[in-house]
């Protein structure tokens, strides 16, 4: 539904009605046929009548829709991804058929366009009569179908239906597009908020919340596309992108921690606004490309205080703004109370502030815009955070974060042991050293059409990641790949 216009959705639902009706009729006829096959011989008039009816309905359905895939997901029937109920008084009969499918390891059927009445009869008969001797029933029944020459109908393995990783290319592209939409809308929103605060106008949070909710939904399903976008560092206006990156990293960590949806919403907004105080600093200071002098730093160190004040001034007091205010103030204060601003009395640093501190430092160091005016590869940043700067972070949260980012963080350019080059697109929590990547250069170093390559796939075990590379060193614009489907 996201990204669709009102008219599109309405039209779609209207068209759906006819399609659903046709699918329902066809499916109902199939189950009636299956039931009849159980009772009568296939040359019986009743069976033949039902067979004719089903084939006719199937043909009519496929004339409009070109394919017919029936799946059972969580005890619900779907025809071509459309939920359908079976219009039958004999629900027990339907249940029996579906139980039989389950017993045989069948998650669904795919009818090809050349399906004949004979094929249907053979299928239905087989479904009832196939004996399961032992071993994998699905594999055996599939082989039996092939032996009988039935190639116009294929079976869907029930285990494939339940695999979360079974995302086809179209789904992957859709996820990446959605992630881009969300990411850039978030940047635009942060920019608008910063401009508004610069004019001392009130901040209306509703749109920010909608964006944060989109981020959370994507992080909950598969946050790798967003993490990939967060690895882009060559934005013209870094401040805004930085806020979005911090939000993505913070929400990923928060999700991993088990924060509830309302809590994630608060964290996301707080992370987006953690540097809102910079809107009150001179613009040329914030965007200064060269190193900061001492005076610059004195001013820059005021941004947490300014951020807290800005939020208090411009946002209505509620749980979101309270969290944002505290995080804006605390995100540069270390767990031991050092850092800035200097505290006049000890205080327990809030959980969200500690999360944001980690995300903020990671993004700042990988971008090379703040602490060091050169980008550091993410894996090295993690090493520095753990071994040089550990006292500045909550160590437990840092450990979780390192685990999320992984050995080869998303967006990293990696050299494989077969000398091909790729960009990490997704970490593999079960095996961190074997992420999913997108190959961009062959083993001769030549640029190729990008293709997905999952190192965790058993077929790819012979190849490992050798090391991370600095893309700038080789003039490779990783951004372009990340921003493509």
């Amino acid at each position: 539904m996201e990204g669709q216009s009102v008219t599109q959705i309405t039209t779609e639902v209207g068209l759906n009605r006819e399609r659903v009706h046709a699918a329902q009729q066809m499916l109902t006829a199939f189950f009636v046929l299956a039931k009849t096959a159980r009772v009568y011989e296939t040359n019986n008039d009743s069976y033949q009548g039902q067979l004719f009816r089903f084939c006719e309905l199937l043909r009519r359905y496929m004339d409009e829709n070109f394919s017919c895939t029936v799946k059972v997901i969580k005890k619900r029937l779907f025809v071509d991804d459309q939920f359908v109920t079976v219009d039958s008084d004999d629900r027990i009969g339907v249940r029996l058929m579906l139980d039989r499918w389950h017993e045989l390891g069948i998650g669904g059927l795919v009818f090809g366009d050349a399906v004949s009445a004979e094929d249907v009869t053979a299928l239905v008969r087989l479904l009832w009569t196939f004996a399961i001797p032992g071993g994998d029933p699905f594999e055996q029944i599939s082989r039996q179908l092939a032996r009988e020459g039935i190639d116009s109908v294929s079976l869907i393995d029930i285990t494939r239906l339940n695999e979360d990783s079974d995302i086809d290319l179209e789904d992957r592209q859709k996820i990446r597009r959605q992630a881009r939409d969300t990411f850039f809308r978030a940047i635009r929103n942060v920019k608008e908020v910063m401009l508004v605060t610069d004019r001392d106008e009130p901040i209306v949070v509703s749109r920010t919340k909608r964006i944060v909710h989109s981020v959370i939904d994507q992080v909950s399903n598969d946050g790798s596309a967003l993490m990939e976008l967060a690895s882009i560092k060559n934005f013209d206006e870094y401040t805004y992108a930085h806020s979005v990156n911090v939000s993505i990293y913070a929400l990923t960590l928060g999700f991993r921690l088990g924060l509830s949806r309302p809590e994630l919403s608060e964290l996301g907004v707080a992370a987006l606004f953690h540097d809102v105080g910079k809107a009150k600093l001179p613009r040329d200071l914030v965007t200064k490309p060269g190193r900061f002098d001492d005076f610059d730093w004195v001013q820059m160190r005021r941004h947490p205080l300014l951020g807290a004040i800005t939020i208090a001034e411009t946002m209505r007091l509620d749980s979101h703004s309270a969290r944002a205010l505290v995080a804006a103030y605390e995100h540069h204060i270390n767990p031991d109370g050092t850092g800035y601003p200097t505290l006049s009395e000890p205080r327990q640093i809030n959980l969200y502030s500690r999360i944001i501190a980690i995300a903020d430092t990671f993004d700042a160091l990988t971008s090379g815009r703040v602490y060091i005016k050169q980008a550091i590869p993410p894996d090295e940043v993690l090493r520095k955070m753990v071994y040089q700067m550990a006292a500045k972070f909550d160590n437990f949260l840092l450990k979780l974060f390192v685990n999320i980012i992984g050995i080869y963080p998303v967006g990293s350019l990696v050299l494989l042991t077969d000398r091909s080059l790729g960009i990490v697109t997704k970490t593999n929590p079960a095996e961190l050293s074997r992420p999913e990547i997108r190959l961009i250069a062959d083993r001769d170093g030549r640029k190729t059409v990008p293709e997905w390559f999952d190192l965790a796939d058993p077929a790819n075990r012979s190849v490992d990641v050798a090391r991370c590379l600095d893309p700038d060193q080789y003039g490779i614009n990783v951004t372009k790949y990340i921003l493509s489907d």
Binding site: G3, A312, A322, R323, L483
Partner: protein, 604 residues
């Protein structure tokens, strides 16, 4: 034929949708009124859930377009709001929802959850209530919505934004590049060290954080050593996560914000930002009070007062700014707003209210006194009275302003407060209110006087003997009878001898005689005897009542003369007198030896 049938089905279907929405609204209204366990709404809810899912799944989904006061389905109007009580479209539109879709696959559980969300939303009166956020939190798989914000966001073309925000993304400095991968070592430790960046490239801040450009410990200390291949927090780490989450849930937004603002104040060495921050503190205080968080508000004001009192002498201006804040915290406008806030609350945390008032300066007392006239809750008014009684001891002049108020309830409340303050000082004011035109004020004055210990109190109490209100007269009589002494005796006697005594009811007259006798002792026995023995012109029934009243009075008279008189009556030739006297004697002895009081006369 098919077209006619389709059209007919379409019309029928649309009618069904209209009915469905009407029932939808009815259910929401019922849910908002009835308790959750009431069978009527539960039954309605189940029925509607079932119908709703049936229609949605039969039709393959329903998509509604929402306008400020209308709902459309397939471009046809299926609902329009009729007034404040019938706002279904408005409910969604005001929350920003312009499209609401129910998808095929919708289950009864999910639509039931949706109804629950709406019910809670309608009962939530807080200004920051956000229906869209609540729906989002529920993660409804088959109920989707679009908001005005989504529409605005959709207008932002991602491709344009990419070009606007990331102008270099199209560049590829080595288009058609080909890298000599064989030149790259598979082992990064074999790389030649890059030209070392001078340490000054690391900022001071970074240095303070421990950051250096030297590579972090390598080889034996790589990240892999930190991570196992299948890292899942276990044991102590699971406990740590649980602890972090539990601690997080204890976050107090109001106290956290105020604590941060106090910290910020302490940061400033410049008066201008300090003053501006004080202004923000005022704004935040208003918002905290607006949410009824009086405890947090009290803490905040106390902390600021403490800072004001402890400002070093060189920062008199800072102290003055804080003093201004503290004055304004209890000014007329703020106290007025506080009153409104308390009046809107279903249950008032009176302890917290009192805590907040305690944090204010004495300058707020006149405004707080004014609250009494506007507070709806009796419990809240009592709290204010208690507070004023405590603070008013040192500021009586402010409290007594209410004595002259035109509103009777303000006068009454002021009397209540003065009564609690007590002491000689307040008695003069009661002299004024004892004669107030409103009985409720006089009644409160009486109650206040009852608890005071002073000779002057008796004088004032005697005034109530001739009050227009019989209840007050009775209370005064009983109290004076209990107090005893010359003053009350003479006062009661004056009333009995007055012309107005004749207008009292017989019961009241009886009471007066009893009290008179109790107070007068031997001084009144002749008088009572004259009543018992009188042969005057009064009708016999009335005469008898008086005689019996006089005899009862003698029962309450502790003097020996009374005893003798009663004994003489027991030897009378008149039987009624003998019997009555005997009863009176017995009663008298019971009173004298078993500790009966004048109050017992009420129960005879």
């Amino acid at each position: 034929m098919d077209d006619i049938i389709s059209e007919h089905l379409s019309q029928e279907f649309t009618s069904n949708i209209k009915l469905l929405l009407r029932d939808f609204l009815k259910l929401i209204k019922v849910l908002a009124i009835y308790p959750a366990d009431n069978p009527l709404p539960a039954k309605m809810r189940r029925s509607l859930c079932s119908r709703f899912t049936e229609i949605v799944n039969e039709f393959g989904g329903l998509a509604f377009s929402i306008q400020p006061d209308r709902i459309y389905f397939n471009k046809e109007e299926v609902f329009s709001d009729r007034g404040a009580e019938e706002r279904l479209a408005g409910l969604f539109f005001d929350a920003g929802i312009i499209q609401l879709n129910f998808l095929a696959g919708l289950s009864e559980e999910e639509i039931d959850t949706f109804f629950g969300v709406l019910k809670n939303f309608m009962n939530d009166m807080s200004p920051e209530r956000d229906l869209v956020s609540v729906l989002w939190q529920e993660q409804l798989s088959f109920i989707k919505y679009r908001t005005v914000d989504d529409l605005a966001l959709d207008e932002q073309q991602t491709e344009m934004m990419i070009r606007e925000i990331c102008s270099t993304y199209d560049e590829d400095s080595s288009s058609g590049w080909c890298i000599d991968v064989n030149e790259i070592s598979l082992d990064e430790t074999e790389d030649e060290p890059s030209a070392s960046s001078p340490a000054s490239d690391v900022t001071e801040d970074a240095r303070q954080m421990g950051l250096s450009l030297e590579p972090a410990a390598t080889d034996n200390h790589t990240i892999e050593n930190l991570l196992t291949n299948s890292y899942t927090p276990v044991g102590e780490e699971q406990k740590e996560i649980a602890r972090l989450l539990a601690e997080n849930r204890n976050f107090d937004p109001f106290r956290s914000v105020t604590r941060t603002l106090l910290e910020i104040l302490d940061q400033w060495n410049d008066l201008k930002p300090y003053s501006e921050t004080i202004g923000i503190c005022e704004k935040v205080l208003d918002q905290i009070l607006g949410k009824g968080e009086f405890g947090a508000a009290a803490d905040f004001v106390h902390s600021l007062r403490s800072r004001q009192e402890n400002q070093p002498s060189g920062k008199a201006n800072y102290a003055e700014r804080l003093a201004g804040f503290l004055r304004r915290a209890g000014d007329h406008e703020r106290i007025g707003r506080l009153t409104e806030i308390i009046n809107t609350q279903e249950t008032v945390d009176t302890d917290a209210v009192e805590l907040y008032l305690e944090s204010l300066g004495w300058e707020s007392l006149p405004h707080v006194t004014g609250m009494l006239g506007k507070l709806v809750s009796k419990k809240a008014r009592l709290t204010i009275c208690n507070y004023l009684a405590r603070r008013g001891v040192d500021h009586l002049g402010i409290i007594v302003n209410g004595i002259r108020d035109k509103r009777w309830y303000v006068v009454r409340n002021t009397v209540m407060i003065l009564g609690r303050i007590g002491g000689e000082r307040v008695i003069d004011f009661f002299a004024v209110t004892a004669g107030h035109s409103d009985q409720r004020v006089r009644s409160e004055t009486f109650r206040a006087l009852e608890n005071l210990k002073s000779d002057r109190v008796v004088d004032l109490l005697t005034r109530f003997l001739s009050d227009d209100d019989p209840d007050l007269r009775e209370m005064a009589l009983t109290t004076l009878g209990r107090i005893g002494g010359r003053g009350p005796f003479e006062a009661v006697g004056d009333v009995i001898r007055s012309q107005s005594f004749g207008s009292f009811t017989l019961e009241e007259q009886e009471q007066y005689l009893i009290v008179f006798s109790h107070l007068g002792g031997s001084e009144v026995t002749d008088f009572l005897d004259s009543i018992v023995s009188s042969m005057g012109w009064l009708p016999s029934a009335t005469k008898m009542r008086y005689r019996l009243a006089a005899l009862k009075g003698l029962a309450y008279n502790k003097s020996n003369d009374a005893e003798k008189l009663l004994l003489s009556y027991t030897r009378s030739r008149r039987k009624w007198l003998r019997d009555a006297a005997a009863a009176a004697l017995e009663y008298r002895r019971k009173l004298m030896y078993n500790g009966g009081s004048i109050r017992d006369a009420d129960h005879d």
